[in-house]
């Protein structure tokens, strides 16, 4: 259980141990602790959003990152923690420690998996301060941090800040959906008992702004207002080495529609912005669906692939914005319940796509008309649509697929990608895991609902350590 300072970040436990599991003496002694001391907040007093600065710990091992909700009431969202990967079964285990709280959006990993970007927002009377923090996966330390103030944004605005890494560059774009409330009109609601509640209605209007963070200098360019109000806040975003691609959707205005003359829904628009610019190079309409969390990846060609309906790839030409669609036959299996679905661009140019709800993962080759190069079938996990969505992950070399075990067996399994055959499994006690991550050192982290929630495995699925956390884990990196 964490005890927090007013600023909302990590503080000292009553026992004299930091939430990181380190004592103040250990912190002050340097080494691992030196960074942990810097894990105190830098946010302005009273602010609700914080991200740690400085090295949190450093002892040569890699870190996994956890995103989720502290298990204690009132369940505030958006907490972020680091958990150290053990070097071996005989090495000591370290407790996970908190790096940030109240993030403005789900963290985003760089294409090379070396860095995680966190965004926090603090609204004040003068505007909104958006802070981007880059965390190094090798050290769990802050590698760069910068802030941007959006003047004139009211204090009651809601801001969704999505970082986007531009591969091969030092640029991290920030796509900001700014939602501003206004009041007017009276609403009446009737509950199940027939009781009527009357209230003044709140209406939201959304627009988008772009900013660009240079991770070498730590400075921002922008923000650029896209002047697209009213639009829907949700976007699909991706970048290549030269452009930022942003899908947005205009908000349907009832004054332009009527029941007597039915009209289809407005289409989304994809725009390409040269990195550093707020003026699009092209703007073209995009077929359905509207942006809603579909996986997206930048291809080696620079084109952008969006996985829609968990079976179709919409590929946006980086040059023209033209969109072509490809159906992935192994994934075109319908189920009544939506499955988790993930997509990842690999260093060799292929795409790794997993759909645990049908027990299938594939590697496809964009350079060969999205031909399926490999396909692995596995048992469907117990809750294939639930968080975390990373229920099937690929080793760094791409030769091994790790999946959370099936509904009856639990555990973790490993498959040879080239043959599709099971090569290893761990199922002691039928323990159910809900998500996985492969670390750069090859170790596998499995997370689950019951304490202890973290289990580190060797690449061959030997259990190295279990570690506990009070975080209810929604995503693992």
């Amino acid at each position: 259980m964490f005890h927090r300072r007013k600023t909302g970040a990590v503080g000292l436990l009553h026992s004299g141990r930091l939430a990181s599991g380190l004592s103040r003496r250990e912190v002050l002694a340097g080494g691992v602790g030196a960074g942990a001391l810097l894990a105190f907040p830098i946010g302005s007093p009273g602010s609700g959003s914080t991200a740690a600065t400085g090295s949190a710990a450093s002892s040569g091992s890699w870190y996994a990152f956890l995103y989720g909700t502290p298990e204690s009431s009132p369940y505030p969202g958006g907490s972020f923690m680091a958990a150290q990967s053990p070097a071996s079964a005989s090495s000591s285990a370290h407790s996970p420690f908190q790096l940030a709280s109240t993030l403005a959006a789900t963290p985003v990993t760089s294409p090379d998996q070396a860095t995680v970007a966190l965004a926090t927002v603090d609204t004040t009377a003068h505007g909104a301060k958006v802070t981007l923090t880059l965390i190094d996966q090798a050290t769990a330390a802050v590698s760069k941090q910068g802030s941007l103030t959006l003047a004139g944004v009211p204090a009651d605005a809601s801001i969704l800040a999505t970082p986007v890494f531009a591969p091969g560059t030092t640029t991290v774009a920030l796509v900001l959906a700014i939602m501003i409330p206004s009041t007017g009109g009276t609403l009446r609601k009737t509950d199940q008992s027939g009781k009527v509640t009357t209230a003044t209605a709140t209406t939201w209007k959304s627009h988008h702004e772009l900013a660009y963070f240079d991770s070498s200098s730590g400075t921002f360019t922008g923000a650029f207002d896209l002047a697209d109000e009213p639009s829907l806040a949700l976007t699909t975003v991706a970048a290549n080495g030269t452009d930022l691609f942003v899908w947005t959707t205009p908000k349907q205005q009832p004054t332009a529609y009527s029941k007597a003359n039915p009209k289809p829904a407005p289409l989304s628009t994809v725009r390409a912005f040269p990195l550093g610019s707020g003026k699009p190079r092209f703007s073209v309409q995009s077929p359905a669906p509207w942006p809603g969390g579909e996986p997206v990846a930048t291809l080696a060609s620079g084109d952008i692939a969006r996985l829609v309906y968990a079976r179709n790839l919409q590929v946006c030409s980086a040059k023209t914005g033209d969109i072509t669609s490809h159906t992935l036959a192994p994934l075109a299996v319908d189920r009544p319940k939506p499955s988790a679905v993930t997509m990842q661009a690999r260093p060799d140019g292929t795409l790794f796509i997993a759909k645990p709800g049908i027990g299938t993962a594939v590697i496809v080759d964009p350079a060969d008309s999205f031909r399926v190069k490999s396909q692995v079938k596995f048992s469907v996990p117990r809750a294939p649509g639930s968080a975390p969505w990373t229920k099937a992950v690929l080793s760094s070399s791409g030769d091994t697929l790790y999946v959370v075990g099936g509904a009856s067996s639990g555990g973790v399994s490993a498959y040879d990608v080239s043959t599709g055959k099971l090569t290893a499994s761990y199922a002691q006690g039928g323990r159910q895991y809900t998500g996985l991550s492969v670390l750069p050192d090859g170790n596998v982290l499995a997370v689950g609902p019951t304490h202890p929630r973290l289990a580190f495995f060797s690449p061959a699925l030997s259990l190295l350590h279990t570690v506990d956390t009070s975080l209810q884990i929604a995503a693992v990196y």
Partner: protein, 240 residues
């Protein structure tokens, strides 16, 4: 009275469902954006409505299944997800003339919380508040009501989260994913849904395709005693 939920399209599902269960559904529960892994009702609402009409179950319940990590996020994500959900329902309403609001003016909009997903209070409050305040089609009648699909006895926060909601953020109802005795459509099992302590369960998913061995691309649901779920759904008043 029982009905179906499906992430597939009604027009491509109802024949096989009828062949398997031999009865007309009372309603269909369908996915709207943001639901990144489902076929979306609003993408072809006219064909979906025709399918529902032809199936004999011309009532469409509305559910959204965002990326489940979103539900552990903050209020900005909740507002943004609800904004797209409400807009998607409205876009279907405008695209099909004979698709109408329920006569009681209470359209329950369900948020899909899967078993091992944690629902943060900040996300729920923002999501529910946006839904409750949505001035649907500028009618000034605010007909959308938030509801939560969840597994009440899951170890992850769901009931305990919504128990802290106040005012307009309190869900109108819970749709329970458990228990799962299975059964058919014409003779659903006796009511035995899991429940939260503060919000009544009004809809129960008593049979899932995988666990119950159904071949049609549907799960089976029924309303609580005295609760006709079709009354809280969009209505297809004629075949478009």
């Amino acid at each position: 009275m029982a009905g179906y939920d499906t992430a597939g399209e009604i027009q491509n599902t109802y024949v096989s469902a009828h062949d398997e269960f031999g009865a007309d559904p009372n309603f269909w529960m369908r996915y709207f954006a943001p639901s990144p892994a489902a076929d979306l009702f609003e993408d072809d609402p006219s064909a979906e409505c025709s399918g529902a009409w032809d199936s004999g179950g011309p009532h469409i319940g509305c559910i959204s299944a965002p990326s489940q990590g979103n539900l552990s996020s903050t209020s900005a994500q909740g507002t943004a997800d609800a904004e797209t959900f409400a807009a998607a329902i409205q876009s279907a309403y405008y695209a099909v003339t004979p698709l109408d609001l329920p006569s009681n003016n209470i359209l329950i909009c369900w948020l899909d919380q899967e078993y091992s997903t944690t629902l943060s209070l900040s996300y729920w409050d923002a999501w529910a508040n946006y839904i409750a305040n949505y001035n649907f089609a500028d009618l000034g009648t605010y007909p959308l009501y938030p509801g939560l699909y969840c597994t009440p006895e899951s170890p992850y926060p769901n009931c305990s989260t919504i128990a802290q909601a106040t005012g307009l953020d309190i869900p109108y109802a819970v749709w329970s994913a458990e228990w799962e005795p299975c059964g058919g459509l014409a003779s659903p099992p006796a009511w035995d849904a899991q429940a939260c302590s503060t919000v009544p369960t009004k809809l129960w998913q008593y049979g899932e395709q995988g666990a119950c061995g159904y071949s049609a691309n549907v799960d089976l649901d029924e309303g609580a005693p005295g609760f006709n779920n079709a009354d809280y759904c969009l209505v297809v008043v004629s075949n478009p």
